[in-house]
């Protein structure tokens, strides 16, 4: 049996924290610490060395983007740490900051709403813990609306495919969702990578780069 994924959870609202602990425990995650503030989160991660961190963005002490900054800090300290950040609002700049941390893998940026779809949420957590990337569909949708982006060269179908890649789906899963063959998906992915001028190397990494291109064509962070 595979070892349980060790999780540190940070959420300042007690009821929601307990609900999430219950959810995680139910699906072979081991919650090694459940905390309610950023300093406690940093402490717990440094002592417990978990596989996965699930954190809220707005948390004490400053109730701003404390959780996100903690996530970026922790990723700098432990590049292999998987982090899923939960946000009350869609904010593509946050997703961008998170994806730019480390190699852009093992990160997830989700609307808090997604925890309600328990099964999907758990699948996403597992995917991120296993080295994938997960961006909230709402963020992806917003990015696709963005004008003047290098993605303008992509066809509608290719955009759909890239959106699903950004959400973290495999070629097979995308084929299933779009009702086309996996070979067709492979062809679309090839076109996307060519149009985004991503040189052929490690295929998985190029997929991440394609997603990053999405996010980096977005707004630069204010100075």
């Amino acid at each position: 049996m595979a070892p349980m994924t060790r999780v540190v959870l940070a959420e300042d609202e007690v009821l929601l924290r307990e609900g999430l602990v219950g959810l995680l425990n139910r699906f072979d995650f081991e919650v090694v610490a459940a905390v309610g503030s950023v300093p406690a989160l940093l402490d717990a991660v440094r002592t417990q060395k978990p596989d996965l961190v699930v954190t809220d963005i707005r948390m004490p002490p400053q109730h701003r983007d404390d959780g996100l900054r903690a996530a970026v800090t922790l990723r700098a300290e432990q590049p292999h740490l998987a982090v899923v950040v939960l946000s009350q609002y869609v904010q593509s700049e946050y997703a961008s900051a998170l994806l730019s941390s480390g190699d852009g893998r093992r990160v997830g940026y989700l609307l808090k709403d997604r925890v309600a779809d328990v099964a999907d949420f758990v699948v996403t957590l597992r995917r991120v813990a296993a080295g994938g990337t997960a961006i909230d569909p709402d963020v992806v949708r917003q990015l696709l609306l963005r004008p003047h982006d290098p993605l303008a060269a992509l066809s509608t179908r290719e955009r759909e495919v890239l959106a699903l890649i950004a959400e973290g789906h495999s070629n097979a899963a995308i084929a299933g969702k779009l009702f086309i063959t996996e070979a067709a998906i492979g062809k679309h992915v090839g076109n996307i990578l060519t149009k985004l001028e991503l040189p052929p190397s490690d295929d998985t990494n190029r997929r991440v780069l394609a997603v990053l291109t999405y996010l980096r064509t977005g707004p630069p962070r204010p100075s």
Partner: protein, 429 residues
């Protein structure tokens, strides 16, 4: 007509009952006490101006001017300049008090504390200008008026004068007998009301000049106070929005998420064929929909992006979420006061949504520029134009918001486009 009793001399002069009111007498008292003050100032001015005048005339006639004269004039001129603000410190309060006789309306204006503070103060030099008027122009006017009064008295007294001395010279004619003089006396009597009016007019002009030069900008002060209180109100309103947003975010939203999560967990345990499965699924769906609704409500109360990303970042997020392509150019050097940022954000938000809904535009541009005093927000689109506050496109509300922070809203939207909306928000306090 007690309701609209005139409040000052200039207003009273235009009323039919002027001569029967107390106003002519007030003007008379004012004029009487003007004489010694204006006279003293006249003499003081004359001490310098008369030699100066004489010297200038001499120079114009080609005569040479001796050095002691030049030194005297220079020293006297400088002394006059140096002394004038001190003299005005004494005379100006007296004049303000005197003004109450003919114009009792309150006179605003900052009082200058200390003699040293008078020299750099524009208000003090306006007082000096008033002294020059009082010592220079007013005596000339009084002299002319007193000549008229003297002439009138002569006309009225002419019958008696004609009895005493055989001949009386009146203006250009000569009368010998009281009988001949009577028409002139009648004219003189009839001229008295004209004199009353002339006196009133002269004093009213004095009062207007005094009010201009001795008083501060009354209306300006009042307006500033109103604006300040309006800004306080808007600030209080903003603080309240912030509190509501925080309460919803900290208390309601996580609990709703928690509830929805529990419903989601329960769904996993209820078999699909259970009678509870369907209502549970519906409840779960409704809870999820409510999460979206609540988030939208909070966004409307207070934009989350603004607090976290600043104005430029928040406007970019806004642009990114708009269906029409919107280019954002932001040139902001620093974070602005929160109220200004919020107002600017709502300006962009409202305009961009107008562009998307009404303008039929294919692209739009938002420019944020930080000038020394103002934050300038410009939203331009290539749509059909014709936007006007009357068409219910939220422009009126926008204008109100802008006005509340003392800003300006300018709109150019000819039919056929393009539409440019420019808002200037003063941020520098």
């Amino acid at each position: 007509m007690t309701l609209d009793r005139p409040r000052h001399l200039a207003a009273a002069l235009r009323r039919p009952g002027y001569l029967l009111s107390s106003w002519p007498w007030r003007a008379l008292v004012y004029a009487a006490c003007t004489l010694p003050i204006a006279g003293a100032l006249f003499v003081g001015l004359l001490a310098v101006v008369a030699p100066l005048w004489a010297t200038i005339s001499a120079v114009r006639r080609g005569q040479s001017v001796e050095l002691p004269v030049v030194i005297f004039l220079t020293v006297a001129g400088l002394a006059l300049l140096a002394l004038a603000p001190i003299v005005s410190a004494v005379v100006a309060p007296l004049e303000r008090w005197r003004l109450g006789l003919v114009d009792p309306r309150p006179l605003a204006g900052a009082r200058i504390r200390g003699l040293a503070a008078r020299y750099p103060s524009p208000a003090a030099w306006r007082e000096v200008a008033y002294l020059c008027w009082l010592g220079g122009a007013v005596p000339v006017a009084y002299w002319m008026l007193s000549l008229l009064v003297l002439l009138d008295f002569t006309l009225i007294a002419s019958p008696w004068l004609a009895v005493d001395s055989d001949r009386v010279i009146l203006v250009q004619t000569t009368v010998d007998t009281p009988g001949q003089a009577i028409p002139y006396a009648v004219v003189g009597l009839l001229f008295i009301p004209v004199l009353w009016y002339l006196l009133g007019l002269l004093v009213a002009v004095q009062a207007v000049v005094a009010r201009r030069l001795l008083g501060g900008p009354v209306a300006g002060v009042a307006l500033r106070e109103v604006t300040r209180s309006r800004t306080r109100l808007v600030n209080a309103y903003e603080a309240e929005r912030r509190r509501i947003e925080r309460d919803v975010h900290d208390a309601a939203q996580p609990r709703l998420t928690s509830l929805t999560l529990q419903l989601g967990l329960a769904k996993l345990d209820v078999p699909d064929d259970s009678p509870a499965a369907k209502p549970l699924a519906i409840a779960h769906g409704q809870a999820k929909a409510l999460m979206v609704t609540l988030r939208q409500i909070v966004q409307g109360i207070r934009p989350q992006h603004l607090a976290e990303l600043g104005l430029a970042g928040a406007v970019r997020e806004l642009a990114a979420a708009t269906t029409v392509p919107v280019a954002v150019h932001a040139d902001l050097r620093q974070r602005l006061p929160e109220l200004i940022e919020t107002t600017a954000y709502f300006v962009v938000s409202e305009s961009v949504s107008n562009v998307a809904q009404h303008a039929q535009a294919t692209r739009a541009e938002v420019r944020l520029t930080q000038a020394d005093q103002d934050l300038v927000v410009e939203v331009e689109d290539n749509g059909r134009g014709g936007a006007s506050p009357g068409h219910g496109t939220g422009l009126t509300g926008l204008a109100d918001r802008v006005a509340a922070v003392n800003g300006r809203l300018l709109l150019a939207s000819p039919a056929g486009g393009p539409t440019v909306l420019r808002v200037e928000l003063p941020w520098h306090r």
